[in-house]
Amino acid sequence: MYSYSDFDEAFVRARVSQFSQQVERRLDGSLGEDEFRPLRLMNGLYLQLHAYMLRVAIPYGTLSPHQMRQLALIADTWDKGYGHFTTRQNIQFNWPKLPDVPAILSALADVEMHAIQTSGNCVRNVTADHFAGAAADEIADPRPYAELLRQWSTDHPEFQFLPRKFKIAITGSPNDRAVTRAHDIGLRMVRNAAGEPGFEVMVGGGLGRTPMIGVTVRDFLPEADLLPYVEAVLSVYNTLGRRDNKYKARIKITVHETGAEEITRMIEARFAELRPLFGGNDMKLLEEIRAAFAPPAFRNAPVDGHDAFYKADPVFRSWADTNLTAHRNAQYAIVTISLKAHGATPGDATSDQMRLMADLAERYGHGDLRISHEQNVILPHVHKSDLPSLHAALVQAGLGTANVGLLSDIIACPGMDYCALATARSIPVAQELATHFEALKLEHEIGPLKIKISGCINACGHHHVGHIGILGLDRAGVENYQITLGGDGTETAVIGDKTGPGFAYTEIVPAIERILRAYLGLRQEPSETFLQAFRRVGMEPFKAALYEVEGEKDAA
């Protein structure tokens, strides 16, 4: 794992001390709110509906057990004993008090963490495939590149006041688990004809008010050109981006208005200017960083005990079938710990659960923890012989839910239960969907399904790329939920299509049930997933299932 250099340490400590003084000046009145607001946002502190909220970055989703325990300590000391993991690999504390924030930031700095650039019009936390360094399909671990980008973008003087926020995601596998096509810059590792690793560079993806899939501006970018090329993209955006209109300020609009061909030409021209200015120190730094991400010393031990247990224990088998992913070492597995127990808040973990996951990562997982954008926790390296004991420990703590990739593994933003921007609630919709289908015992029958819920048009819950997306809106003072179908956040990314008029809060769960019963009725065989079926039959059968019932009701 990457450890802070003296420079990183001094920088983060200096920022904590700076912000501590700013808080003091706000509390004694020397700073007004208009002056203080941009300062607190630069340090991840928002004022939400009921309280302040502190957003802490988990760079490329990687945490050590030590860091996880510190998050638990923060939750217990200054918050309400839990934290919320977000779709951007951050953790949010929902109840900090302003005078306590300097102490929280200081506690974060103690474990090499911070909240810098988790808000504001700058390069945000760089996200990565949560299976990085473990996935069987990986070309290279994307995290060294993400760390290089983090160092380069942190406090970069040219990019602190971009037209709008800027999000970069990176995956080291051709199979995209980091939603790279829906980011301002998406980097997807590929090999060229000579077998060398490099990146497909996608620009101008994004969800929100105007959802767009990123445009590929480079099919193959050599690794050595990464920083100058990313800098070229930002530089072009910084010049062209619409500062006149907040709703047109993201790079996706710049790409759309400029045209893919012209913006590619401008990026390449800027790249040609910047390339010679990078003398190779970036690559030296990358090498140093890479050493910190060396794979753990994998154990070589028999796995037949595991195989026998798998055959014998149906509860373990069900969990293993949904929550494990192939590791590049055949004796190992990647474990996804579901933070989506039926009826629980997606992405929330109590401080006790955090400490337990930290302990388990140490005991069984080579001390490595990941946070996924799907709001689960990953133990990327678990020897198969340890899986039965690990599973037993998880079950005891309420963390053994076998639902990863299924209906109840829902992404949901905080929505109007917390967020000041929200137009409707999302958490209770997720909770009710999960408990409703659990009661029907249908989710295993339905199979792989991604439901994603956002409580406003800004789409933190990624609803556009959900197989079923739900968007909560305020329609004439009442919560109303719009449904999209057929979205896909992987390397075959697609924005979902709206079904039609939305549904009231009390009608949304029955509406989703009608869609899924229609799917069960029309699928060719149980192995045809919802998304495959949707692609085969299109919107009409689902529309009919959704709205014909309504029509009958009206007629009656």
Binding site: E33, H50, A51, L98, D417
Partner: protein, 100 residues
């Protein structure tokens, strides 16, 4: 023709704690919506908002929110404001826990 004025309350968050509060007729900040001053005149509303905004060391983000008279005092009319009177729906945190 201006539209008929909808009754309002002044609401904000406490600077230090972040808690939702309401301006009362006797110039206190109350955690309870029903203790708020129900403002039925637009000009008076602007005066009260100015008064609230000036209290920079106490509150943040003061604004006028729609309200209506109720049995125990003003009640919110919009669901967002109703949520602000009690806290989130997924946990008994916030006001619903503090005042029961």
């Amino acid at each position: 023709m201006s539209r008929r004025f909808t009754a309002k309350v002044v609401t904000a968050n406490l600077l230090r704690e972040g808690d939702v509060v309401y301006l009362t007729a006797d110039d206190r900040w109350s955690p309870h919506h029903h203790e708020a001053e129900l403002i039925e005149d637009e000009a008076h509303g602007q005066m009260r908002l100015l008064h609230a905004t000036a209290q920079k060391l106490l509150v943040v983000g003061a604004y006028l929110a729609d309200a209506k008279p109720g049995a125990n005092g003003p009640e919110p009319t919009h669901f967002r404001e109703a949520f602000r009177t009690r806290g989130p729906s997924n946990y008994a945190h916030g006001k619903q826990a503090d005042f029961t």
